[in-house]
Amino acid sequence: MAMTMTQKILAAHAGLDNVVAGQLINAKLDIVLGNDITTPVAVNEFNKAGFNKVFDKDKIAIVLDHFVPNKDIKAAEQSKTCRNFAGCHGVSHFYDVGKMGIEHALLPEQGVVTAGDCIIGADSHTCTYGALGAFSTGVGSTDMAAGMATGMAWFKVPSAIRFNLTGKLASNCSGKDVILTIIGMIGVDGALYKSMEFVGDGVKNLSMDDRLCICNMAIEAGAKNGIFPVDEVTFEYMKDRCERQPVVYSADDDAEYEKTIDIDLSQITPTVSCPHLPENTKPASVLNEIKIDQVVIGSCTNGRMEDMTAAYKVLNGKKVADGVRCIIIPATMQILRECVEKGYYTAFIDAGAVVSTPTCGPCLGGYMGILAEGERCVATTNRNFVGRMGHVKSEVYLASPYTAAASALTGYITEYKEV
């Protein structure tokens, strides 16, 4: 029977010729991931269950990214738990301060994940790696513990929605506008339990950073995973980077999809998700009376090099509006370094922005940019739930780096227009 791309990867990892939607399988894992918030819970479960060794020290990744450099004593204890566990079991992909980055920017950049992989991560945005043509999904800490012990995880094989992309994005739009538009169309549970498979002629016009951003927010539509086909852009990205040999899977021509949704990329406009759900999307252009207090450019969704370049294009030689705090967070040390080398760092400072070392920090209301009562933020992050970035009466508007940076300059939500 014909299979989707996701189903093919799952079948191969379960040692089966064929799987169908709804089937329960046990699949081999290529990478098991955790961070400084979810790993301590997993370590506790792992020890409590009496496991004393990990299935493969080279297939586990532990990344300190949410609250590092440690924001307080409790966070320091959590980092210490991760560090001790990684040291004790010789985990090869352990990223501490100095090497750290936001996990979903870091693992692709470092070549830890590759095409054809089956990956679980105790972080909901683990779905990001679908951009490389991998099956990758978020789980909880207990699944992470079980994965670290056995190298296996159970899955219910998902059905899929196919997104047929055509055309090319306008120069003031990015992958963020694509995924926000899609979530606005199908809703925050529009792809619940399903795969979002992105196909079509338009795929070749999307950069790897665009694809990573699109797959990153598949979870915001409730999806199990998002996935792109492997093409020249993918191979170019993986070249000299991935430590394991990529395996290319593609959907059967007659694979079954629950539905197909056509997206003409040339019709996408700068899009903003208004509080308090990612599905509350509006064109940036109609929100120009919304006054803001803060801008955050960063996160696992939009802290990559193209996002920094977009921010630089908008902010270079300009000044952040009075009364606006503009916080820029390159997602990895390598991206931070490149920002320094290219002069972006200086341009950001001259514009009146602050630049942080890599952290998830403000995205989840951790630190480095918490909002007070009644404050509004335009953020390139992924969630705008009640209290997500601070006070329960603060507001987060999700947008692309172009829109966020343009809004920083005016103090109001602003559509970026190239001059």
Binding site: V41, G50, F67, D123, V139, T142, A145, G222, F385, V386
Partner: protein
């Protein structure tokens, strides 16, 4: 397995950030975390919940982050069961893995009101609303998942398997 208690009712799309805000996630201690369960949308929940009480909600309960702390704090507060029209997939998985009983039942989630007295029989999926006198049948779990629950969660089920 069985629970009976008072209902706390919530809307659609209750996310894990309101179940347990990330600002408290600098500790993995469930008892400490449980003091903040639901506080951003219901400051009374922690004060009023009693052992065995039932949470009832709309579509997509538990959407957002993968934090296992979310089902864990609901369970630690004493909640006996969550009934919703649907659950976000990671929350669903986490609830099973840590042993928080959850049931999907659209009609029950629609009709049951805040403060109602409800009992739930997990073996049969039967939900009884003692306040209205109505009963409902929830979708039973697949056998594979029932097995995980019966063995006391995912890790216990794995150990059980490896001992044989």
């Amino acid at each position: 397995m069985y629970t009976q208690g008072k209902v706390f009712k919530y809307p659609d799309n209750v996310d894990t950030d309101v179940i347990i805000p990330a600002r408290y996630l600098n500790t993995p201690d469930a008892n400490e975390l449980a003091l903040h369960c639901m506080e951003d949308i219901d400051t009374q929940f922690v004060k009023q919940v009693n052992k065995g009480d039932v949470m009832v909600a709309g579509w997509n309960f538990g959407c957002g982050s993968s934090r296992e702390h979310a089902p864990l704090v609901i369970k630690t507060c004493g909640t006996g069961c969550v009934i919703a029209k649907s659950f976000a997939r990671i929350f669903y998985r986490n609830a099973i893995n840590i042993g928080l009983p959850i049931l999907e039942c659209e009609q029950a989630a629609e009709e049951i009101c805040s403060g109602d007295q409800v009992s739930v029989d997990f073996d049969t999926g039967k939900i009884t609303n003692h306040t209205s006198g109505k009963t409902y049948m929830a979708q039973p779990f697949p056998a594979f998942i029932q097995d995980i629950i019966k063995k006391g969660g995912l890790l216990a089920s794995l150990k059980g398997g490896s001992d044989k």
